[in-house]
Symmetry: C2
Subunit: 283 residues, 2 copies
Amino acid sequence: MLQLDTVAIVGVGLIGASVGLALRRRGLVRRVVGIGRREATLRAAREVGAASETTLDLAAGVAAAELIVVCTPVGRIAADVRAAAAACPAGALVTDTGSTKAAIVAALEGSLPRGVRFVGSHPLAGSHRSGPAAASADLFQGKLVLITPAAGTPPRDVQQTGAFWEAIGSNVETLSPEEHDRALAATSHLPHLAAAALAAATPQELLRYVATGWLDSTRVAAGDAELWTQIFAANRGHVLAALSRLEGQLRAYRTALEAGDDAAVRRLWETAKEIRERAKPPP
Amino acid sequence: MLQLDTVAIVGVGLIGASVGLALRRRGLVRRVVGIGRREATLRAAREVGAASETTLDLAAGVAAAELIVVCTPVGRIAADVRAAAAACPAGALVTDTGSTKAAIVAALEGSLPRGVRFVGSHPLAGSHRSGPAAASADLFQGKLVLITPAAGTPPRDVQQTGAFWEAIGSNVETLSPEEHDRALAATSHLPHLAAAALAAATPQELLRYVATGWLDSTRVAAGDAELWTQIFAANRGHVLAALSRLEGQLRAYRTALEAGDDAAVRRLWETAKEIRERAKPPP
């Protein structure tokens, strides 16, 4: 069983605070140091029990940490990992929770000082809510976490990263950073883009007539603009490839509808329904 | 307060059975006759308490009804209303719950015998589940029901139809059938089409990596193929116009992503987020 003395969490929003809470509730760690840029967020993280102590000073916060989990937005992760590596104990393990992986792993591969080790992670867990007040000790329970080693990452570092996630209830799978980004473009980034496009395609005077279908299909368009701009920027190529597949499907509907070809519409729908039903249900 | 002797419900799936249950639980009616084409469905409707009696014989079922609610799929509604009108008492009021209105209202306008009156309705209420076992007496509570009179429908018939829906907890608004179909193309039919296109655009080997975003955004793609083929066929023109708006939004994302124009991506997202947040929350 995982037993750690000090874990530092950089960024204590929903994900970071849930990591801290999960570690503390399970008694896996003596100290959790929450690190952030706003005192109000740190206070909220302490109040929900996500951290035993907090600090605005990243270097001081990671000084005694064996494990550092960087939970900041995608565009800041590589810089935050480098700052943590410069101040943490020699040989410490650093992981992250970013939604894209190839650019982050490439930026950090083989470049950290004093034997500090980095292995990228991406927990497929979230909530419609954000911030430490929404944290849950069970956020990762039964959820899949993708671990994305670089070509040269030692198997022992991958194993230790996986053991951390498994200790807080997750299932772990290893993918290359490139495989990860290709997969997530289809299963997460495109759905977010499509939700935003669908919301924006709705004339405002008609919003009073939306029902559960529109609300479900556009839910993730309420996400943070800066975060999603960074994710799309970091995974442009794969997102554009996934977008091409969606455009192809929409063209097929357009062609069938313009021709009044009900049999073709029905076939398109049946294919989609089968795929929807084959996806694992929400836990 | 609405008090009726006999109401007949043609089609006792989720919507029809919920109408029956809502009327009976509120004590608004002495008899609810459930009419269907399969004995198993009728039995399930009786078991949940949605009907006091049931029959496979539409003419017999409507013979004593003051109010008839036709809850069959869009493609069958006009024929079912005509069959009900041929067998029900003179002057009875018939309404429906179909998701498209212009074709149905046009097919029936001024053509029913013996003073039988028809006023189209569309409750913006539903569930991810279907069938009478999923029925709820509160399905329409606080939900909007759109009433779509033809140009020549007497105001008294509109008022009586609205009073029925209000008696089971709904809020009522009147739209022309054409306005209704234009609005619902944007707020319901396009979201269903987009959800199906998004599901079908997902390579099957990647389905294991979907999370809540994909699951939310594709949820309604699990709907019935025949029902959605009928709805798209009945509202082709407006659905194609709404699809053009979605295609325009996706083109804007493609252009911004191909140019690496993060500021444009952020603006697109912010517009969508504002629209998403302006829509009423799910009750």
